[in-house]
């Protein structure tokens, strides 16, 4: 039902027509032009907002050495290819594609522009000039889950997901596992709404779950709509996703998972400028401060904060990993043996739910 979207190219910085130079090396003597494409609006207060903050960080840090350009609201599909191609033709030598669904387009366009460095967020397909970067959001989910497990009275949390991709499945599982560490009867109900950004649908999904007994809501969509419904209905609480959303629900956001992409973007930009860029595959989390936690709400009891902090610091110093066996799936089959930690590869292809997650309808 959506209109064929017109994407607007907004050019940051001075509107200088840069000549296209036939440089084949990644090293840049002239100003480096960096492109970013976002699946949603930079004003979503969440995921895309956080990526754009990363862009602004790079621009601030490197000043005149770089020019950053972004295109927002890029649909995941053929149109994405067009936008990527346009950015490359405009002279961008480093392009960040910040949504999972851009993957196929990135691979195609990257093959046509071998002298442009591409980086794809949360993806899994590398290439000669396509690097991958991701954040260990699940570490933040483990902190949230600890709070949810302690504070939920009904023992049921709702989880609004966009699409059942490994990134989202992993987050649901991390919330359930950490919640069940403190409350063995804790369960998570996922509802997929097939969109990243439809506030009214996110809100209705939250209403549907709250009306059926959940008292904690988490979401893996781009905006704060679910938190607002949580506040409206007066349930125990929810979590900010992507950015601190406490402005929308001051008494309801228990904490938030904050994406902090700036340091990664800065490192990649510097590498391209120095000519040292190689396609990487980074997956950083709380330790590298790519994932940060928002402030704990005053209504979270001190002992719960202490436990949440233990989970947070344990993940920073490496003493705690939420995906440590024994882990059963939600049909009762043991998937991870006791003491075994799931590998990154296993996590990134996770397509099953842990015990305590209701199978999505």
């Amino acid at each position: 039902m959506t209109l064929s979207r017109r994407t607007m190219i907004k050019i940051g910085g001075a509107a200088v027509a840069l000549p296209l130079l036939g440089s084949t090396a990644f090293g840049q003597a002239e100003k480096l032009k960096i492109g970013f494409i976002y699946v949603g609006s930079i004003n979503d207060n969440g995921y895309n907002y956080a990526h754009n903050q990363g862009r602004i960080f790079v621009q601030d840090q490197l000043g005149d050495a770089v020019e950053t350009v972004y295109v927002e609201n890029v649909p995941e599909g053929p149109d994405c290819e067009r936008v990527l191609r346009e950015l490359a033709q405009q002279g961008c030598k480093l392009i960040f594609a910040t949504s999972f669904g851009f993957g196929d387009s990135v691979i195609k366009v990257a093959a046509q522009f071998p002298d442009v460095a591409f980086e794809h967020a949360t993806g899994y397909m590398p290439a000669a000039n396509v690097g991958l970067y991701n954040a260990r959001f699940y570490e933040g989910r483990a902190v949230c889950g600890t709070i949810a497990g302690h504070m939920s009275k009904t023992g049921k949390a709702g989880y609004i997901g966009s699409f059942p991709i490994p990134e989202v499945v992993m987050g649901i599982n991390a919330l359930a596992l950490s919640g069940r560490r403190v409350n063995p009867n804790f369960t998570v109900k996922p509802v997929y709404i097939s969109t990243w950004n439809d506030p009214a649908k996110e809100a209705d999904a939250a209403r549907a779950m709250i009306d059926q007994g959940i008292d904690i809501v988490a979401q893996h969509t781009d905006g704060p709509a679910a938190l607002q419904v949580a506040a409206e209905r007066g349930i125990i609480g929810g979590f900010g996703q992507g950015a601190d959303m406490s402005a929308f629900a001051p008494d309801t956001q228990l904490t938030a998972i904050i994406d902090n992409w700036g340091p990664h973007y800065l490192a990649s930009a510097k590498a391209v400028i120095d000519g040292t860029w190689v396609p990487g595959n980074t997956w950083e989390g709380l330790k590298e401060e790519v994932v940060e936690m928002g402030p704990y709400n005053a209504k979270v009891p001190a002992d719960v904060v202490a436990d949440a902090e233990k989970v947070r610091t344990g993940q920073i110093d490496g003493s705690f990993h939420i995906f440590t066996g024994p882990i059963k799936d939600n049909t009762g089959v043991e998937r991870v043996a006791a003491g075994v930690v799931m590998t990154d590869g296993e996590l990134l292809s996770m397509d099953w739910y842990v015990e305590g997650v209701e199978q999505p309808a």
């Binding site: 017109r6 004003n43 979503d44 506030p199 009214a200 905006g223 709509a225 607002q228």
Partner: protein
């Protein structure tokens, strides 16, 4: 029981903006004009309503300004299609694109700024009992939408002005030849449709999610346009259609979130139901011989006086 009532409340919330916008479009199309800009006008109404609510905290003023903004944007469409006889389909699409971009621009400094929801129209004591809650827990636009169904039906079928409007939509040359201002009538209809779309858009930040988000109407303007055809240009059918769509959109989520009785019908089927229903209705319409006369005969055609 409580769950049923809770579902009804959610369905009403989901259906109201669609109904209001579709009622406006129904009047526009009855006058022979096809305005595909509903989605864009809704977004303009949404940002106008949001901004006014944010600065004044007066939701009635916010609704009014949402309607005014929608009406102003419809005048762009009206000028191009009525005064300049531009192609209505293309102009309507352009209006939607314009509304999407303009609302994003106007709203860019309003992210991370929540507003308060519109209060229910009736005192809370009246809605205390769960059964009464179903009737009395809503804010003004919900009751307004029901009243407008009756008002528009009465206007179209029982008043002289309504007859003129339908005449302009059915046969613009004849209406013109007996002295009615086709362009004037159509301007009024387009402005009314714009006001209704703007009001429907303002319902998003005031009733559903008290925030501004780009494209927050997420395609519901298109559902409104489709509903007018679905309802074969009749207000009471439109009411039924809007609530059918609202019901299935909501039930999909309740079925996903719930267990037990709600999961008897899989959520995928709920998600598919609006489209199945649309096909069924279109088939039924085409089976009836007289049904083709339901569409206003001059729908989408620019008016060029023959003399």
């Amino acid at each position: 029981m409580d769950l049923t009532l809770a579902i009804i409340v959610t369905v009403v919330g989901a259906s109201t903006p669609i109904l209001i916008a579709a009622l406006g479009e129904l009047v526009v199309e009855r006058s022979g004009v096809l305005n595909l800009g509903v989605e864009g006008m809704m977004l303009i109404g949404a940002i106008a309503g949001f901004v006014v609510q944010f600065h004044t905290g007066n939701p009635y003023l916010a609704l009014l300004c949402g309607a005014a903004a929608g009406m102003a944007s419809s005048l762009i469409f009206g000028f191009l299609t009525l005064s300049l006889s531009a192609n209505q389909t293309a102009t309507g699409l352009a209006l939607t694109i314009f509304g999407t971009g303009f609302s994003a621009l106007a709203g860019s400094s309003y992210s991370a700024r929540p507003v308060s929801l519109m209060e229910p129209l009736f005192p809370a004591e009246l809605a205390a009992h769960p059964v009464w809650k179903v009737l009395f827990s809503y804010s003004f636009p919900v009751y307004f939408s029901f009243i407008m169904v009756v008002v528009i039906w009465y206007f179209l079928h029982k008043t002289r002005a309504g007859l003129i409007l339908r005449a302009v939509g059915e046969n613009d040359q004849s209406a013109h030849s007996i002295g009615y201002s086709v362009i004037g009538v159509r301007y009024m209809a387009v402005m009314f449709g714009g006001a209704m779309a703007g009001l429907a858009g303002a319902c998003f930040p005031l009733l559903l999610t008290p925030q501004w988000a780009e494209r927050m109407t997420a395609g519901r303007g298109w559902i409104a346009v489709a509903l007018v055809v679905f309802a074969s240009w009749k207000p009471f059918r439109l009411l039924a259609g809007a609530y059918l769509f609202g019901l299935v959109m909501t039930m999909e989520l309740y079925a996903k979130a719930g267990g037990g009785v709600l999961s008897i019908i899989p959520s995928e089927l709920w998600a598919a139901l609006p489209y199945i229903a649309t096909i069924v209705v279109l088939v039924l319409i085409s089976l009836r011989r007289d049904a083709s006369t339901n569409a206003p005969a001059c729908l989408g055609k620019p008016f060029l006086p023959s003399n």
